[in-house]
Symmetry: C2
Subunit: 563 residues, 2 copies
């Protein structure tokens, strides 16, 4: 057969990967990569780390592991791929099987024939309709140019206060980057808690409590109404429905939107983003698509969703390259909604469904929270992580996990990503043969403990109460709180509860009758190990209504406002 | 029913866990815990870290997370468990359903009736028949007393040189601990490489190469014949079939043997260790057993094996406690042979089958090795890890993984433990939705890359050659080595190959004809990314016989002896 002509539109993540994989599988294919910007194949997720100076040069985001910069020359010499840099694809003609492209510099237009086409047009920042959004000092974060402009602005204008609109991944990573420059940051979020896509309410409250200790400010359930500008046209304040915030710089991180105009205009099936099958093929079998411009299947819920991620884009690129070369032999079944973020010395990650997903889907679910040290408690350097599981009541199947804390949690998220992809139950999770040596974990790792606690919960043996419900009851005369910790622990931190007695766990059997049976008893400790034991001891002593605080008070998030 | 009487023999890991879980599930059970030593419920795996002073006090290994020491009083007050400390179980009468126990101090004998019995008698060190093995300065590592004695001996006798016999987990962890005291350590191993249970030959060679750089000495394929003692009866040298080694101290870490006499004497089914079903029940339905004295099922091979691990003992304890309380409702299907070790600044871990297992079982398998940074290559602080996969040729199912290196690999081992437990294939592995943000991994994590490389291998697209085979060919006149790296990289490290040409990957397409077609071509780079690309380019240029070095030369382990 004559050589296969392939045009790839989009040169950041999915596009170059598809092109390179295709050339490995079929060296005779003629591949042309179209990129309207002036960089190809850069690590976009690294941009906030350039803004914060963790990454010293933008070039570092564009190099291979052997420090070769991925220029058009590199793509040609090493991979035999032609690149049109600074060219935009303007029209797809599916009948003629051509793509019209335009040189953004010279306005030259060419029409490229294709046998197979790849659409990897990515996403654009959503620009909400706010007055003065184009003022100087108002930024979005998408390209290396954005990162460079932001960093220059901070340096040149001596920015002291910044506002970030949107407490999602990109907004928060940039907020940390600004803090690295000594800028005071206020994050404004329309929803009721931070990282609303990633975390449930309690977990977000715990993380927010930490971030406030790092001097980050938050305004939740707040709507931005306008930007105020000074005489020079520079932003100087953000007007919200809850007041005006001074700021010499603003990041609008209100989410991204898939770039689907080309796909829509040529009649491909598009919902919020382009619809592809598990071969990454659009409704036209000769056109493949991947990256931030396509919908993906959530393997837990079965729903199609829009979840743009660099990691997924890379997988899609490989699948597309293989399938164009060899026919549809490789699939990407979907994702499990994994995400992760580092914030100062803490991390937070998530896999699967959150509480609102479960509610929306009408799934009956149980939750548990298990805090504990990330390595054996007797080893130096241990730090705490807090693991929250959601499981389906009927089957015990793990639906979701969230972990936050200062301890190492990233690969525990990965472990759960595999577990949730494979549909494991709480029981199966608790039996996993995870690696144990004291420098790495406890003999029973946090994830296994979480599996066991979930089993105790599903079996009806563990009765716990959640932070926000505890908060409601702190002042109640119908509730008695029982602190099961040592006097030493109690001296360091207390819960501001109206009716409270202190009975160390070792004394609880002997002193169970001191806990009045006519009140609801809420027992607690640091991690809820003693809490659960205490609940059982009081129940055995005939107490009719005992619960332990889910997750203990290690990360009790309401210290400051004490409700 | 009248209260259930349960006797638990063994107070270290499985026993106390079984007792505590049982009491949580059935508060009315009368539980007696028998321990012949003078400590209960200690973190045995932490003992080497006490020897090396990472853990400051032995007490730390015996405390809860809230620093309560697990004494008999604690067990009684908190858990309502009776403990006989310093008592040994001497006989089980299955007909009468009694256990005879003896106070090792007073020789008092009691006969305890049981409804259900738990055998958690653990393991003893294997003591090989070596002359003078009872000399002063010769140690085994099993109990807190052993650890204390060893540490005292190092301090009191100014030990300068030590020998460790056995390059398995315990021996090597102690070897590191001795090094922490400035002791020069020689490790003697009968088999051909270190960590023979955990690592395949190449991986062990890479780790050994690093450990030698940390001044550890190794004698492999070496048999110890005798210990020499001085006038005071203290060990002063180790005599082997390869010469005599000076040593003021010796650790015999030649493996452990299950303690099964009680079980055998009362007629329970015992092979190497006690046979239990997945409910952790012995051949007598009223007797359960767990921990270091039982066989476990390897879920990958389906074989019963002896694999004593603290993590497994804890799981078995929980299953036993639940099942005695509630009938046989909980199972432990088995393990996947996970193990992990920290050695100075490196780690090594393993899940599933090794190469020798595959050979023994007659499984046709493929291997690949993928080195790469543990976080995105543009982030500071990245370190390298090297991942080796074994997969079944017929199905692509992942049979085993080994990872070594200075980078973070512990939870990647966990991720693979879940993957291998669930029977994932290389293709499924490569599609896992692992968490990506630059501080935590690359956009395509090492494990996913390993899945992809394995797929390329199984598909017949990637042709690689392994370290030991490369070693054989370094001097061959029939082979040409092609270094695909930059001049800068090449200046830092080379391969001592007789016929070698340097063509950076960017130039290979243009200069492919410089590689003689009448010789076998072996291409290489650092990580084998360019190696694979180079193989494809040369094949496309018509070269009939090209391979890349599996795993690149990043961790080429034969620097010193240069074959």
């Amino acid at each position: 057969m004559s050589d296969l002509k392939v045009v790839v539109i989009g040169g950041v993540a999915c596009g170059p990967k598809a092109a390179a994989r295709l050339k490995r599988c079929n060296p005779h294919a003629q591949v042309t990569l179209i990129e309207k910007g002036h960089d190809i194949s850069y690590g976009g997720c690294g941009l906030p780390y350039f803004v914060g100076s963790t990454v010293k040069e933008l070039k570092d985001l564009m190099t291979t592991s052997w420090e070769a910069v991925r220029t058009p020359e590199f793509m040609k010499e090493t991979k035999d791929i032609d690149t049109l840099l600074g060219w935009e694809a303007t029209k797809i003609d599916r009948e003629a099987k051509t793509v019209e492209v335009k040189d953004l510099h010279s306005d030259e237009v060419r029409v490229l024939p294709y046998d197979k086409l790849v659409i990897a047009t990515g996403s654009d920042n959503f620009k909400p309709p706010i007055a003065n959004i184009d003022a100087k000092g108002v930024f979005g974060m998408k390209t290396p140019d954005d990162a460079l402009a932001m960093q220059s602005y901070i340096k040149e204008h001596g920015v002291e206060k910044a506002v970030v609109i949107g407490a999602g991944l990109i907004g928060m990573e940039c907020a940390e980057a600004y803090s690295d420059w000594g800028v005071e940051v206020t994050v404004i979020e329309m929803q009721s808690w931070i990282f609303p896509q990633m975390l449930d309410k309690e977990m977000a409250a715990v993380l927010q409590n930490y971030l406030e200790s790092e001097d980050m400010n938050f305004m939740l359930e707040t709507k931005v109404e306008a930007f105020e500008v000074d005489d020079e046209g520079k932003v100087c304040a953000v007007v919200t429905d809850k007041g005006t915030v001074e700021a010499q710089m603003v990041l609008v991180a209100a989410g991204v939107r898939p770039v689907v105009k080309l796909a829509k205009d040529c009649g491909l099936e598009v919902s919020k983003a382009i619809i592809v099958n598990e071969y990454c093929q659009t409704s036209d079998p000769d056109i493949y698509a991947g990256g931030d411009c396509v919908m993906v299947k959530n393997l837990v819920s079965g729903e199609l969703m829009y979840a743009p991620m660099g990691s997924t884009a890379n997988k899609q690129g490989r699948v597309i390259g293989t399938n164009i070369a060899n026919g549809n032999v490789e699939t990407l079944p979907g994702v499990v909604g994994t995400s992760i973020v580092k914030m100062f010395d803490w991390s937070a990650g998530k896999v699967g469904l959150g509480e609102r997903d479960c509610q929306r889907l009408g799934i009956e679910y149980a939750t548990c929270i298990v805090p504990g040290p990330d390595i054996t408690h007797f080893m130096p350097g241990k730090k705490i992580i807090m693991t929250r599981l959601l499981a389906e009541k009927a089957t015990g199947k793990i639906l979701g996990v969230q972990i936050v804390g200062p301890g190492r949690l990233d690969k525990r998220i990965d472990t759960m990503a595999v577990a949730i992809t494979m549909g494991v139950t709480a029981d199966q999770l608790s039996k996993m043969d995870l690696a144990y040596a004291p420098p790495f974990s406890s003999a029973v790792d946090n994830l296994l403990v979480a599996g066991n606690v979930m089993k105790n919960t599903l079996d009806g043996m563990a009765h716990s109460i959640r932070y926000y419900d505890v908060l409601e009851k702190l002042d109640s005369d119908d509730v008695v709180f029982v602190d099961l910790r040592t006097a030493h622990e109690r001296a360091q931190k207390t819960l501001p509860a109206k009716h409270q007695i202190h009975i160390p766990i070792e004394e609880l059997r002997a002193r169970a009758n001191e806990v009045p049976k006519d009140k609801e008893a809420i027992v607690f400790c640091i991690f809820s190990t003693r809490g659960f034991e205490g609940q059982l001891i009081l129940e055995q002593a005939g107490h009719p209504n005992v619960k332990f605080i889910q997750g203990g008070i290690q990360f009790w998030p309401f210290d400051k406002d004490a409700k």
